[in-house]
């Protein structure tokens, strides 16, 4: 089975090629079959590969497959050699299951959601291309090939955000996403350079194995490499300060938001950190930066989420915030917790987005929550599944999100790093905010007065089966998915941690353990913190209930009281405007200056000026050609006289 590893990404690629090259020539059912079928095949293959991997001894859980040499330059020891090769280990196995699993469900969902769109074939082609790129990303066995997938998903994100290209805001958002991602990719590239010239290899295995020999623990080189990789991750995973593209990315079709901007692509940064944990563990300073950025992003995005009215934007900021959690986990060296949350988040956030899509679908493309309300009775399945997801994300005990989030909070608290307590506190506050804005969303959308106009109202209908079935599947996953990774204090095995432990160990980890003192906190403390967060979540839910259900006046009066804060939040802290004024406009003006002044006036002006000077000189000289025979003769004579004088006198006496 292992020799078919390359087929996992290849199926979607074939799907893309067929759908892409024969665009507009295939009947719809065939497009659907190819689009969904290819991902379905990948899913099946992934499952069987997963079981194959599981059958191996934990230390031997690695399947590699090298297809061919991609780039090879020079020879040892400076040889740069990169191949197209795949690596299946516990980490990538989790990832391909998430990608193909959630991806498959979303493909199915799209059949219903995109049914009436003109670009049906194009949509499935792009989606397949995305799946291919994402699978390449998670299965790559070296940095550069991972980068292929990394940029590939960026491209698909660009294409899919701008799917409705006739809308200017859509194509703007796509472009913005691509360019902001490029800034991150720049960091990634530099990180690759540092790693290559230090380790002389880009292979994950080799790098992980050789890192302790090559790098000094905590040395500036490895820190620089990690920070650069992290810059890449902030771009892709929408962390401060590069998160700005993600909310705009909601211009794309909703299933796209679910797949790319919630479940898979945006988590690539977390995956990258987990993949390179051997390096990060050697750079505590870099980890500290990761944790700080993660924590700040979580809080920052959550506050913005409080005041958004667009249903998808709330979810977008929620995604940014949740990604902040994952980075926080990675930052305190709890990579497993990060990946666990990544997986759970993929379930519930995909579910939320798909649910939101279902709502939007029902509401005739209305996205503003202020025009919704009371949808509970019209959309029973959508409501119940979304409610499950909301419970999960807020961290109601026994739902999956509870386990994954509390794991992160506890790891943050118990890690030996400086300021661990602050990290916990920020995560804790964010959890409260999350509960508030999520229930705000639920109350505004599904409860209360029906604020939509009558025309829209008459069209409201529950979505077709193709859309609701994926919702239900995801709801099940997000409800019970957490049981595979329950914390130790519950007295059960943490299967997830055990599964990933081969990846999260190695010489670098030994070295790090040696260097860092572990936090070592008691189980009582863990119970206490867990209880605290549950209480906070419940309080927040009650507040949401109070403001948006029971006493809607209170929310408006509160908003009026803190008008400044409200507008600031609604305008997302004016970050876009800030970037526009500080980065984009100066660059444009500077470019104009370079073009209009340096190029046209300075360089060309100088040259044209020189040319003009010569022309003027020639122009002046021209008049000596008077056409007067006698003046020529005179000049000739003068010349002869002088010449003879020079010959006769000059030579004799000179």
């Amino acid at each position: 089975m292992a020799e078919y590893l390359f087929l996992v990404p290849l199926f979607p690629l074939i799907g893309f090629l067929i759908n892409g090259l024969l665009i507009g020539r295939l009947p719809k059912p065939l497009i659907t079959l190819i689009g969904c079928g290819s991902v379905g095949l990948s899913l099946l293959l992934s499952c069987s590969l997963f079981f194959e991997l599981k059958a191996l001894a934990p230390e031997a859980r690695q399947i590699t497959q090298t297809l061919f040499t991609w780039i090879s330059v020079g020879q040892s020891p400076d040889q740069f050699h990169v191949s197209i090769g795949y690596l299946l280990d516990p980490l990538s196995a989790v990832m391909i299951l998430v990608v193909t699993g959630v991806g498959f469900l979303i493909h199915i969902y799209s059949i219903g959601y995109m049914a009436h769109d003109n670009g049906y074939g194009r949509y499935f082609a792009y989606m397949n291309l995305f799946t291919f790129a994402m699978l390449t990303l998670v299965l790559a066995d070296n940095f550069l090939f991972l980068f292929v997938g990394w940029e590939g998903v960026g491209l698909c994100s660009y294409l899919l955000i701008g799917f409705w290209y006739e809308k200017k805001s859509a194509s703007d958002a796509g472009k913005k996403a691509f360019i902001v991602n490029r800034i991150g990719d720049f960091g990634f590239l530099v990180g690759i350079f540092i790693i290559f010239w230090s380790v002389k290899s880009l292979d994950f295995m080799t790098v992980a194995a050789r890192a302790p020999e090559v790098f000094v623990f905590g040395g500036s080189l490895v820190t620089a490499a990690c920070l650069m990789l992290f810059l890449g991750a902030t771009g892709k995973s929408a962390q401060l300060p590069l998160y700005i593209w993600l909310p705009d990315a909601m211009e794309g079709p909703t299933p796209v938001s679910a797949l790319i901007h919630a479940a898979t692509m945006v988590t690539a940064g977390v995956y990258l950190l987990a993949r390179t944990n051997a390096l990060f563990i050697m750079a505590p300073d870099a980890l500290m930066v990761v944790a700080i950025i993660g924590a700040l992003t979580a809080l920052f995005a959550a506050t913005i989420g409080l005041a958004q009215n667009d249903i998808k934007r709330v979810l977008a900021y929620s995604t940014v915030s949740q990604l902040g959690y994952m980075f926080l986990a990675c930052g305190v060296a709890a990579f497993t917790a990060g990946i666990f949350h990544l997986m759970i988040h993929a379930f519930f956030k995909a579910l939320l987005f798909l649910g939101a899509g279902s709502v939007i679908h029902a509401m005739s493309n209305e996205q503003d929550m202020r025009n919704m309300g009371g949808l509970k009775k019209y959309l029973p399945i959508t409501f119940s599944t979304m409610f499950v997801a909301t419970l999960t994300i807020t961290g109601i005990p026994l739902f999956a999100g509870f386990f994954s989030k509390d794991e992160i909070l506890w790891k943050a608290f118990s890690s030996g790093t400086n300021g661990a307590w602050y990290f916990w506190l920020i995560g804790f506050v964010t959890a409260g905010l999350t509960a508030f804005y999520m229930f705000r969303l639920v109350y505004l959308t599904f409860y209360g007065k029906e604020r939509m106009d009558s025309k829209t109202k008459s069209h409201i209908h529950e979505s077709p089966r193709t859309m609701t079935v994926p919702l239900m599947a995801l709801a099940v996953l997000s409800a019970i998915g957490g049981f595979i990774g329950m914390p130790h204090i519950f007295g059960v095995t943490n299967y997830f941690e055990e599964w990933l432990s081969p990846v999260m160990s190695g010489p670098a980890h030994d070295m790090a353990e040696h260097a860092l003192a572990s936090g070592g906190h008691s189980a009582t403390m863990e119970w206490l913190l867990m209880a605290a967060s549950v209480v906070l979540v419940l309080v927040s839910i009650w507040m949401a209930y109070y403001f948006y259900r029971k006493n809607t006046q209170a929310s408006t009066s509160l908003a009026e009281k803190f008008l400044g804060i409200k507008t600031t939040l609604e305008n997302k802290y004016y970050v876009d405007e800030f970037y526009g004024a500080v980065v984009i406009r100066p660059v444009i003006y500077f470019s104009l200056f370079l073009w209009k002044f340096v190029d046209v006036i300075l360089i060309d002006g100088t040259l044209n000026g020189l040319a003009k000077l010569w022309r003027d000189v020639s122009d002046a000289l021209r008049y000596s050609q008077s056409g007067q025979l006698r003046s020529y003769a005179t000049i000739f004579t003068v010349g002869v006289v002088l010449l003879i004088a020079w010959i006769v006198f000059g030579i004799n006496h000179g």
Binding site: W70, G162, S171, R182, V598
Partner: protein, 529 residues
């Protein structure tokens, strides 16, 4: 057989010129047909050369060395290594595509146009395979004339200005080159008693004194830098590109610019190794400026063609940077990038030409929403745009990545600055693409545009295939480049070693600074804690 091939590929287009002379002016189809056949046969010959080329051998292959003007020591010396091989292949491929692309767009003076085109081809191929400096110079100048006519006769409204600017810039450089050439010629004679322009012999001779090298490198370097074009000698390029007909732009960007970088690689680096090392930081900095400058300026262009032209400045900056990293990764990436730039920028110019034929405007603001009316066009455009900004699995990525990798070894700062050019590339290309292709069709004239015809698709498809071939499986190309690059680098390595051990001369220490600084910082970084 083998040694005839180079002569054949070089002069076969001339045969076409002679044939065309006998075709009456009015018979346009015959003229085009003859040109197409000639271009096709030239392509076949170059494919034959490619197939017969031994990728493992490091020296020159297919060498021909016959006396030409014996009294002056001028030889008819041709030969190619992997670098020239790829550039010749690029030239022949682009030539046939150009013949196809100009099928409808050239309306007057058809005969003269194709004669110019074929002559240009001979000049270009000749430059890439001549190993005699005099022959090199002859071909270098030969290609100038047809290009002058192509821009000056079949160009846009300001064609005379552009054509003259192009010729004057190039002439200025090449005359300096001629002087330097003669200096070398006489120096070699003084050293060995033999008059020769043979590049191989000159390289094999002991290098000139350091001062001489500085001057001569300056003269050659200026000629090549103008051709590349390196900032601040680039201002002829946008004018020439914008005014030239599509085919002119394609060949200008695709091949002519490469002659500059090729010259650096073939002549400057091997013949003046010490000067190369001494000038290295300055050239790298100019290259970096070109990268950033070209990118920024293209961002604010209103004409698609001049945008692509300025992006060429940026891309050629990458090529220069890679070349002067003087390590295998950088130089190989640079050679590959020459090829890539020829393919993707050439293709972009073709694309612009196709849309220009339909709308007779190239202003970005005149377009919008083309994806709706011309989906196939939009797709091709997208592919080349992505290739131009170096998306992985397209050709641009491999070259750029290797260049940056090499640059990082030379000096991390160079790599970081250059890599930021990659971000800017995405900005200007995507912004332009968005304004041209996306959005609603606002201009009614765009409503009735027809999508690409079969002929136009035929022109673009080979380029698309090349884009992905080099992007996915570049090894066939890299394998051929590697021995040649290794050979070139051996000439400089000695110089670097000498300069490392000998720090008396002030200029050398300046040159050395970044290298040592780099080593030191790396050491410091490792030693830290």
């Amino acid at each position: 057989m083998d040694n005839v091939l180079l002569t054949l590929v070089t002069f076969f287009p001339i045969l076409g010129v002679i044939l065309l002379l006998f075709v009456p002016n009015k018979q346009h189809d015959t003229i085009k047909g003859v040109s197409l056949i000639i271009a096709f046969i030239t392509l076949l010959i170059s494919i034959l050369i490619y197939a017969a080329f031994d990728p493992l051998a490091s020296g020159m292959q297919f060498e021909v060395n016959e006396p030409w003007v014996t009294s002056l020591g001028i030889n008819y010396h041709l030969g190619i290594d992997g670098i020239s091989l790829l550039l010749i292949a690029l030239t022949t491929v682009l030539t046939i595509l150009c013949v196809l692309a100009s099928w409808r767009s050239i309306k007057h003076g058809v005969k003269g146009f194709y004669i110019s085109l074929l002559m240009l081809t001979t000049g270009m191929i000749g430059v890439f395979c001549s190993l005699d400096l005099f022959l090199f110079y002859v071909f270098w100048e030969v290609m100038l004339i047809p290009m002058y006519f192509i821009i000056g006769v079949w160009g846009g409204p300001r064609r005379m200005y552009a054509a003259i600017k192009f010729v004057l810039f190039t002439m200025f450089g090449s005359l300096l080159m001629l002087v330097a050439l003669l200096y070398i010629y006489f120096q070699y004679q003084a050293f060995s008693g033999e008059f020769t322009f043979d590049l191989m012999k000159i390289i094999a001779a002991p290098p000139l004194s350091f001062q001489e090298q500085l001057w001569l490198f300056g003269a050659f370097g200026l000629a090549f830098a103008i051709k590349v074009p390196l900032f601040p000698f680039h201002t002829w390029l946008p004018d020439a590109h914008v005014q030239a007909p599509t085919v002119g732009s394609v060949l200008l960007a695709g091949v002519l610019l490469k002659m500059g970088t090729y010259g650096f690689l073939r002549i400057c680096i091997p013949v003046f190794p010490d000067a190369t090392v001494a000038y290295l930081p300055y050239i790298c900095i100019l290259a970096l400026i070109a990268i950033i400058y070209g990118a920024l300026v293209s961002m604010v262009q209103r004409d698609i063609k001049s945008l692509v032209a300025f992006s060429s400045v940026s891309h050629m900056g990458f090529v220069m940077l890679g070349m002067f990293t003087l390590n295998l990764q950088g130089v190989e990436g640079s050679v590959l990038q020459m090829l890539n730039h020829g393919i993707s920028t050439g293709a972009l110019f073709l694309i612009v030409g196709m849309i220009y034929e339909r709308r007779h405007t190239r202003m970005i603001e005149d377009f919008g929403g083309l994806a709706k009316v011309m989906p196939v066009f939009a797709t091709f455009f997208m592919i080349f745009t992505l290739s131009s900004i170096g998306l992985p699995l397209t050709n641009g990525f491999v070259g750029e990545f290797l260049i940056l990798l090499g640059a990082y070894k030379l000096n991390p700062v160079y790599a970081i600055v250059a890599a930021s050019g990659v971000i800017l590339a995405a900005c200007y290309m995507l912004w332009m693409y968005q304004r041209v292709v996306f959005g609603k069709v606002t201009n009614p004239e765009n409503q009735k545009l027809t999508d690409l015809t079969g002929r136009e698709r035929l022109v673009l498809i080979p380029l698309v295939l090349l884009v992905f071939w080099i992007g996915v499986y570049p090894m066939p190309f890299l394998d051929r480049i590697e021995p040649a690059v290794k050979q070139t680098l051996t000439y400089v390595e000695a110089a670097q070693v000498v300069q490392n051990s000998n720090e008396f001369q002030p200029v050398e220490t300046v040159a050395l600074e970044p290298l040592t600084a780099d080593d030191e910082t790396e050491k410091q970084m490792d030693d830290h804690r």
